[in-house]
């Protein structure tokens, strides 16, 4: 009877260790977005290529699409860029770029240097559209369905694994719906 009591601190310690261990695997930077399953915020912004032309969220209605928030000053964007370029060549899903708080000149140069995976990029020069989308760390990628509802948010660089295991299956499912 006495021995069982002695084991309690050990059990508590192991439980704590378990929690701490699980905590190591969680990324505190990944804050779940409240926008999942909510309509994507409306925007109508000038495109990077032709500032006279605007693109709005409504223009993408009827198709599944990705909104990739990027900027030429962002390191993570450079990291994911080659993955995005390769992915865009499969034509699985149109990717719209949201050029977040960037200089259009820098952004254009970036795309011509590294390749352009986007059907179009829109310029969010003051970051207001970013705030509407709850953007806090670039790159971020939203999967938006045919009805214009956000179905998934990827925070941080997209990797080939994330594309294959998460984004592509979801796009396929949404396209079939």
């Amino acid at each position: 009877m006495k021995k069982a009591w002695v084991l309690i601190p050990l059990a508590l310690f192991l439980a704590m260790l378990g929690f701490l261990g699980a905590g190591l695997k969680l990324d505190p930077r990944e804050v779940p977005s409240p926008l999942i399953d909510k309509p994507a915020p409306a925007f109508s912004l000038p495109t990077l290529d032709e500032p006279a032309r605007t693109l709005s969220a409504a223009d993408m209605r009827g198709q599944v699409w990705l909104l990739n928030v990027w900027a030429s000053w962002c390191g993570g964007c450079r990291e994911e860029h080659s993955t995005l370029v390769a992915f865009s060549q499969t034509r699985a899903v149109p990717i719209v770029g949201l050029d977040y708080k960037d200089q259009p000149g820098d952004a254009r140069r970036w795309l011509s240097d590294l390749g352009n995976p986007y059907v179009a990029s829109v310029v969010d020069i003051d970051g207001r559209t970013g705030i509407e989308f709850g953007v806090y760390g670039v790159p971020e990628t939203f999967v938006i369905d045919k009805a214009g509802v956000i179905r998934h948010k990827q925070i941080g660089p997209i990797t080939p694994d994330i594309l294959r295991d998460t984004i592509l299956p979801l796009v396929k499912k949404l396209n079939a719906a």
Binding site: R29, V31, P34, L35, G127, I131, G134
Partner: protein, 158 residues
């Protein structure tokens, strides 16, 4: 006299930028600015998560302060502004998260732990007090104890 006033105004205009750019709007509307600070202190900066929007100088925090400033100017209430933030960034932006099923552990957890700890303490104290009371021996036990304490019997007992 008028010249002196103009001179003072010019001097003031020249000196203000030296203080700080952030301070400039405060003069415009101190009430709104006080509200902004109060709200910004309640909101977490998502870029540097242990700072409030008021403390942080991350570009996003600056943007969000401007956003709040504009919302105050359009006459939105504090609750409306907080709801705006929560709708985009989630409960995580609030330093005081609302009480609901997902945050219940957060709110009552510490009190539960306190109750459990107090329970254990009381239990232990009671047990100690019981132990402190001298056990009363019956006559046979007393006799046994005395015989065991005899000098010659100690050698046999292990």
């Amino acid at each position: 006299m008028l010249l002196k006033h103009i001179f003072m105004l010019l001097l003031a205009a020249l000196l203000t930028p030296a203080f700080a750019r952030e301070a400039a709007p405060a003069a415009a509307d101190p009430v709104a600015e006080a509200r902004l600070v109060q709200l910004a202190e309640e909101l977490r900066c998502l870029v540097c998560q242990n700072q409030t929007i008021a403390d942080s100088n991350a570009p996003l925090a600056v943007d969000l302060r401007n956003e709040i400033r504009e919302k105050i100017q359009t006459g939105m209430s504090d609750t409306e502004i907080k709801d705006f933030m929560v709708a985009r960034y989630g409960d995580f932006v609030l330093y005081r998260p609302p009480v609901k099923s997902t945050t219940l552990v957060l709110w009552i957890g510490p009190f539960l732990l306190l109750i459990v700890a107090a329970g254990i303490l009381i239990f232990n104290l009671k047990r100690q007090r019981l132990r402190a009371i001298e056990p009363e021996l019956s006559h046979s036990e007393q006799a046994l104890a005395t015989s065991l304490l005899q000098p010659d019997s100690t050698k046999e007992t292990p």
